[in-house]
């Protein structure tokens, strides 16, 4: 079992506000880790820091044994660390197939090619393959604007998978998706994850989903990791119940907010 991601004393302050404080976590390759916590507990801040969107105020991060603090999303993606978003980050006014084609071109480091069409037969093939895998083939030639939220979430995750990453951070993959669709969506995603042998860390509010798909859980509260361990152990913790899950159950469906 090799360590893939390790943070030590990772902290982030916005002026006087502490968004994340002293987060030290080690993730092993192949793990599926859930991140839970109330809104504002520091989950997204943590993901943003790890993926280079937000510079940490303090602490260190290493990926695959190499320090990555200070690297931007671009360099991290090349190292095999990437993410999806709570609000899908897609090219709304482009056809779905082009969303994928450009991601594939970028993965091949061919983003500066000027005279060859981005839609090469090979790329179209790979794109169709992942659409198939994500079960959104029917939107192939549609604009992203024509897709429902669930399909957008899947496309967002598909884009993240195209750069052949080793580790994927999913920010609330099921938020904004109806209760019935959640499990199908997660099944589809996990199938793709397992097919690629990825390490996954994902933020989730729905404890049922956490229970079903995750082996280990990080519980965040007030910017601090209050508990880290196997699912049942964390969910049974009284402090977690008080600060995370208890609060969670009062708001049944918190998706959609930033």
């Amino acid at each position: 079992m090799t360590e893939i991601l390790k943070t030590e004393g990772l902290s982030r302050y916005f002026g006087a506000v502490t968004a994340a404080e002293d987060i030290s976590v080690t993730i092993t390759a192949g793990e599926i880790v859930g991140v839970i916590g109330a809104n504002g507990a520091g989950k997204t801040t943590f993901i943003n820091m790890v993926t280079g969107y937000l510079p940490p105020s303090k602490g260190s991060i290493s990926f695959g044994g190499n320090p990555i603090k200070g690297l931007g999303p671009r360099k991290l993606m090349r190292k095999g660390l990437t993410r999806s978003f709570q609000i899908p980050q897609l090219f709304l006014e482009l056809p779905v197939i082009d969303n994928l084609a450009i991601a594939l071109a970028a993965a091949e480091q061919k983003q500066f090619q000027m005279l060859r069409p981005v839609r090469t037969p090979e790329r179209l093939g790979s794109a169709e393959e992942i659409l198939e895998q994500m079960r959104i083939s029917q939107y192939r030639d549609e604009m992203v604007t024509a897709m429902p939220q669930g399909a957008r979430k899947l496309l967002d995750i598909a884009l993240a998978m195209l750069g052949s990453p080793r580790m994927l951070l999913l920010d609330e993959p099921t938020s904004g998706v109806s209760l019935e669709e959640k499990y199908t969506l997660m099944d589809t995603v996990m199938e793709a994850v397992h097919a690629r042998g990825l390490t996954v860390l994902f933020v989730e509010h729905d404890m049922e989903i956490v229970r079903r798909y995750v082996t280990r859980v990080l519980a965040f509260a007030n910017g601090v990791v209050i508990k880290d361990g196997p699912v049942e152990e964390v969910l049974a913790d009284t402090k977690v119940q008080e600060l995370v899950t208890g609060k969670y159950h009062e708001h049944k469906n918190p998706g959609g907010d930033a």
């Binding site: 969107y53 978003f85 709570q86 609000i87 980050q89 920010d171 930033a258």
Partner: protein
């Protein structure tokens, strides 16, 4: 030493005029995120309305200074509010939610239309309503002279700036407007009538433009095209100061005013660049202007 005083006096007088011209532009942008290219045309409309009304007044034998100011104020406010209302209700309302840059281009079209409308109404002969400017006389300081009218513009500018600040920071409407600036969707969800606020804001911004024109009318000769000359200047000021910020517009106006006065007194040949050079220099170091803020994308 004389030159230093002259630079300070001229710089602040010019800055006060710049602020008058730019205030409406920055208010509209701040609340509505529309960079109104037609602002120059509102300036020109105000100038034409005031100049032609003053012309009638003086031709009719009037010679009261206070009456002249009443005429300027009434003309500018009327024409500014009416045109502002017409543009907002008749056109912009149909376009809300579009790109900022598209709104810019829509107002560019309004500018083209208003330029010709003014020509059709007022013709091309210059209007020349110098009487109030001449009647107010001047103050002599050594060889330097300062026109009392210019000092009045300075005072008006400070009053308008202070009122705008008070309006935005201390009144109920101001509070609502600030909530719209902060987050339009949430304000809407909280029951703020955003459209009505937009109408009010646009009318006020347009009226400010017209007032700037009306108050400038007695200084200049009002000719077709003055609006186009003014708009780039106003842009430079608000972009330097930071779009949407009243304080920014004031500081931008002072910086540009002093820079220009310095250049005219010491190196007149550089005058044309100085405004753009200041703007470019500020943007290089503060990409959103001195008091502007970047908006982060939600992810």
């Amino acid at each position: 030493m004389l030159t230093v005083w002259a630079i300070l006096i001229d710089g602040f007088i010019y800055a006060s005029w710049l602020f008058l011209v730019a205030a409406g532009l920055t208010v509209i942008y701040g609340v509505m995120r529309i960079l109104n290219m037609a602002h120059g045309s509102l300036y020109a409309l105000g100038a034409y309305a005031a100049a032609s009304a003053l012309g009638l007044y003086y031709a009719g034998g009037g010679d009261q200074l206070w009456m002249a100011f009443v005429i300027i104020a009434v003309c500018a406010i009327t024409i500014g509010a009416i045109t502002g209302l017409a543009i907002e209700r008749g056109l912009l309302r149909l376009m809300y939610g579009r790109d900022e840059i598209l709104m810019l281009i829509i107002t560019f079209a309004v500018l083209l239309i208003l330029e010709d409308v003014m020509k059709l109404i007022w013709g091309t002969t210059p209007y020349f309503a110098y009487q109030p400017y001449a009647a107010m006389g001047r103050i002599n300081i050594d060889v330097l002279t300062v026109s009392r009218y210019d000092l009045m513009v300075l005072v008006v500018s400070i009053v308008i700036g202070a009122s705008l600040w008070f309006w935005l920071e201390r009144t109920r409407i101001g509070k609502i407007l600030r909530s719209i600036i902060h987050d339009r969707e949430i304000s809407q969800a909280m029951g703020v009538n955003v459209e009505r606020m937009f109408t009010i804001t646009f009318m006020i911004g347009a009226t400010l433009g017209a007032i700037a024109g009306g108050i400038t009318a007695p200084i200049i000769s009002v000719v077709p095209g003055i609006g186009i000359e003014v708009i780039v200047l106003a842009f430079a000021v608000v972009v330097t100061g930071g779009l949407g910020s009243i304080t920014g517009a004031a500081i931008g106006a002072i910086i540009v005013g002093l820079a220009r006065a310095t250049s005219i007194h010491t190196m007149p040949e550089l005058e044309l660049f100085i405004i753009y050079a200041v703007m470019a220099a500020v943007l290089v170091f503060r990409p959103h202007g001195l008091f502007g803020q970047a908006v982060a994308r939600k992810i």
